[in-house]
C-alpha cells in the first residue's frame, strides 16, 4: 500500500506500517543483521526459499517498470511514432498484467511470489524422498 503525500507535490509515501511486498523484499532479503556472521548456525531442516523468490521478483519488477515507463509515453499523441514501436510497447504493457496476475503492480508481484512458492515447493517435495533413498538404512 502506498499513500500519496498530503503536502509535497510529487513525493509518494509509504510508511513502516503500510509497506508493500516490493518494499519489504528490498529490505529484509538484502539488509539487516546476518545471523551466520555471529552464530554457528547448524539447524537441520530449515529451508529458506527467499532467494528463489527474489530472483523472480527482481525480474518482474524490471518488466513492470518498463511497462510503466512505456505507458507514460503518449506515443500516439506525438504523431511521430516510428512504425512497429507502438506494437512493441503494447506487448510490453500487456504482458505482465495478463501473464501474472491482477494488473496492479503489487498484485502482480504478489502473484509472482505465490508462483515461485508453488514452483519451489513442488521441486522441494521430491527432494526428501531422494535424500532418504540415498541415506543408508540402519
Amino acid at each position: 500500500m502506498t499513500m500519496m503525500a498530503q503536502g509535497g507535490g510529487n513525493v509518494e509515501r509509504s510508511g513502516g506500517g503500510s509497506s508493500g511486498l516490493a518494499d519489504v523484499v528490498g529490505l529484509i532479503l538484502d539488509k539487516g543483521i546476518v545471523i551466520d556472521v555471529f552464530a554457528r548456525v547448524s539447524l537441520v531442516g530449515i529451508e529458506v526459499l527467499s532467494i528463489d523468490v527474489r530472483v523472480v521478483i527482481a525480474s518482474v519488477d524490471t518488466y513492470l517498470r518498463f511497462a510503466e515507463a512505456a505507458n507514460r509515453l503518449d506515443l500516439y499523441a506525438e504523431g511521430v511514432k516510428p512504425k512497429g514501436l507502438t506494437d512493441m510497447v503494447q506487448d510490453i504493457t500487456q504482458a505482465p498484467a495478463q501473464g501474472i496476475a491482477k494488473g496492479k503492480t503489487q498484485g502482480a508481484l504478489e502473484g509472482a511470489v505465490e508462483q515461485i512458492e508453488d514452483m519451489v515447493s513442488s521441486r522441494r517435495e521430491r527432494e526428501p524422498e531422494e535424500a532418504s533413498r540415498r541415506r543408508p538404512r540402519q
Binding site: I28, L29, V41, I46, A69
Partner: protein, 250 residues
C-alpha cells in the same frame, strides 16, 4: 515461555533488554506468539518457526517486517535479515552472549534514530522532451530524424539515442546531488547507492533523529517540489536496515 534448548527460534531483531514489546505482535510460527530472549542488557525478539520449517512465503516476509516495524515505531531495533533461525539455547550461548557488548554499542549508536529510504526516477514523458528541447544538437538531430524513413534514419536514430542518454545522465547526476545535498543537513547518516535503471535518479537511505522526522520529510517535499520531473518515493520511517553492521565486528 519454557522450551527445550534445541527448539528452533526465528529471529526478528535485537533490542536492549528493557525494550517493551508492543501489543498485538503476530509471529510467523504456528503459535503466532512473539517474545524476547534476554541476555544481560540485550535481547532477541523471537518466535517459533513454521511447522514445515520452510521460510519464504509471502506471509512470512510480511510478518517479519510487521514485527520489526511495530517495535521500531517505539524503540530502537537492529533488524535481522530474513531467514535467521537459531536454537533456543543458541540465542544466548552463540548470538547474544559472545557479542553482547558489541550489539549494545550498535544499539546505543542508533538510539533515537530511524531510517528513510528514498528512490527517485524521472517521469520520462516529461524529461525526454525537456532534454531534447534544452540541447541545440539534440534538437537539430531530432528534427532531422523525424523527416527520415526508418531505414534512412537508422544511424541518426542511434546517435540521437546516445546523445539523449548522455544528457540524461548528466542531468541525473546534477539532480541526485541536489536531492542528497538538500537532505544531508537533516540526517545523521546516509547511504547512497548506484541507480539501477536508466530512468533512476537517486537511491539512498538516511538515518534521521526521531526529533527531526518532520524536518526531514518537509525537506523531501521541498526538494520534490523543486524538481517536478523527478518522481520521489519515500519509504519510512522504518527500522535502520541500511545502518546495521552486516560484516561482523571488524
Amino acid at each position: 515461555m519454557t522450551s527445550p534448548a534445541d527448539a528452533p527460534r526465528y529471529l526478528y531483531g535485537l533490542v536492549s533488554a528493557n525494550t517493551p514489546l508492543p501489543d498485538g505482535l503476530t509471529g510467523l510460527g504456528p503459535s503466532g506468539q512473539v517474545w524476547k530472549i534476554t541476555c544481560d542488557d540485550v535481547a532477541a525478539i523471537v518466535s517459533d518457526v513454521p511447522e514445515d520449517r520452510r521460510l519464504g512465503r509471502r506471509r512470512h516476509l510480511m510478518a517479519h517486517e510487521a514485527v520489526v516495524e511495530a517495535v521500531a515505531a517505539e524503540s530502537t531495533i537492529l533488524p535481522m535479515r530474513f531467514g535467521a533461525v537459531i536454537t533456543e539455547e543458541g540465542v544466548t550461548a552463540e548470538l547474544l552472549g559472545p557479542h553482547r557488548e558489541y550489539f549494545a554499542g550498535v544499539l546505543e549508536e542508533l538510539e533515537g534514530r530511524l531510517q528513510y529510504s528514498l528512490r527517485g526516477s524521472y517521469d520520462l514523458k516529461a524529461v525526454l522532451p525537456d532534454v531534447i528541447q534544452s540541447d541545440a544538437d539534440i534538437r537539430a538531430l531530432h528534427e532531422r530524424v523525424r523527416g527520415l524513413s526508418e531505414e534512412a534514419g537508422h544511424f541518426d536514430r542511434i546517435q540521437l539515442g546516445e546523445l539523449i542518454a548522455k544528457a540524461l545522465k548528466m542531468r541525473r547526476q546534477q539532480d541526485a546531488q541536489d536531492i542528497i545535498g538538500a537532505l544531508v543537513p537533516c540526517a545523521a547518516m546516509r547511504g547512497v547507492y548506484e541507480p539501477e535503471q536508466d530512468g533512476d535518479v537517486v537511491n539512498a537511505a538516511f538515518l534521521v533523529e526521531r526529533a527531526r522526522q518532520q524536518e526531514f520529510e518537509e525537506a523531501v517535499d521541498e526538494v520534490g517540489g523543486r524538481l517536478p520531473m523527478v518522481r520521489l518515493k519515500l519509504h519510512g520511517p522504518i527500522a535502520p536496515y541500511d545502518f546495521v553492521p552486516t560484516m561482523g565486528e571488524g
